[in-house]
């Protein structure tokens, strides 16, 4: 391993940790919000029960409705935990063939709350024909996440950030669309020496800004492993 490779690995490791930390913080915040609602709903059921014991007439439908809402919040919290679980397991294989719909879907869910804070939505457009690529699932998720971070402030009046993927020879192209005023500086991903840029290089990728079409275009090539050249 050369000094350059070593530096690149360090940058990628640091960026990976930053991404995982940021996603864990976002997900734990969302779980805590769900727990807060469950806490209040359960508390309200207690309040209603106490009122009944004190002789106040309470409509039983009120209790049934609150119980239903608790179940719904538990279901939502479980879905959020499932998203974090998928991210955690994305490191299981350093390199594998992945369906881009899965990884784009994962990033869309991870960034849902951040997008909502910016009053936009993220829409993953799923192709009828599955688009797959051989690469690191975790690093690709982190890289798409970096692109989403860069794209969110640029979403146009549609308020919808669309992400889609198409197969190309030896890889795939991922497009983040509906962006206004996108320019070359938006693809810096923190600068030439940043961990995100190192990830991009490691995945044999290229990121370009298409201002005319309002797109960030991420091209990913298949990582064929040690015997084939580009290795992870």
């Amino acid at each position: 391993m050369t000094t350059t490779d070593s530096d690149r690995w360090k940058a990628v490791s640091a960026e990976s940790l930053r991404f995982f930390g940021a996603m864990s913080a976002a997900v734990s915040h969302e779980i805590r919000n769900k727990l807060a609602v469950i806490n209040e709903k359960a508390g309200l059921v207690q309040d209603i029960a106490f009122a009944v014991k004190s002789g106040r007439a309470v409509d039983p439908d009120r209790l049934e409705m609150q119980a239903g809402k608790i179940i719904d919040q538990v279901r939502q919290a479980n879905r959020v935990v499932g998203v974090l679980n998928r991210l955690a397991h994305s490191v299981d294989a350093p390199r594998t063939r992945i369906d881009l719909a899965d990884v784009i879907g994962l990033v869309t869910e991870l960034y849902g709350r951040k997008a909502a804070q910016g009053e936009i939505t993220i829409s993953a457009v799923v192709s009828a024909n599955p688009v797959s690529v051989i690469t690191s699932p975790f690093l690709l998720a982190a890289l798409i996440g970096g692109c989403v971070d860069a794209a969110i402030p640029k979403v146009d009046d549609s308020a919808v950030l669309t992400i889609n993927a198409e197969a190309v020879a030896d890889g795939a192209t991922i497009r983040l669309q509906n962006l206004a005023g996108i320019e070359d500086s938006d693809v810096e991903l923190g600068g030439q020496d940043s961990g995100a840029r190192a990830m991009l290089e490691m995945l044999g990728g290229r990121l370009v800004a298409d201002g005319r079409r309002g797109e960030l275009v991420l091209e990913i090539r298949n990582c064929v492993g040690p015997d084939g050249g580009r290795q992870l």
Partner: protein, 117 residues
Amino acid sequence: MKVLLVDDEEELVTTLAERLGFRGIEAKWTTAGDEAMALTEQEPFDVVVLDVKMPHLNGIQLKKELERIRPEMKFIFLTGHGSEEDFRIGSAEADHYLAKPIDIEIFVATLKEVFRS
């Protein structure tokens, strides 16, 4: 005591308002900063409870807007983060700071303490 609850999680504020009602505290609620400003224009509140992180205007920005309308109002911040940084900002910017999930009895005691202060 009149309380205004502001949080983008509707299920949380509606339930909190109902629970405060069981304890004899009148609480109105909203999920949006601009509506919080409109409600504050219409009537004064003794204590405003704000989520730190909200779309459009965050809790700290919204507090400044509400203070311009009613300088006498007191503020409590709520947060789902509970990080050291949030605690530092929340403690510095509001009269009190609580991390979710909250204990209703501690919440009521805090409301009364802030109201009296």
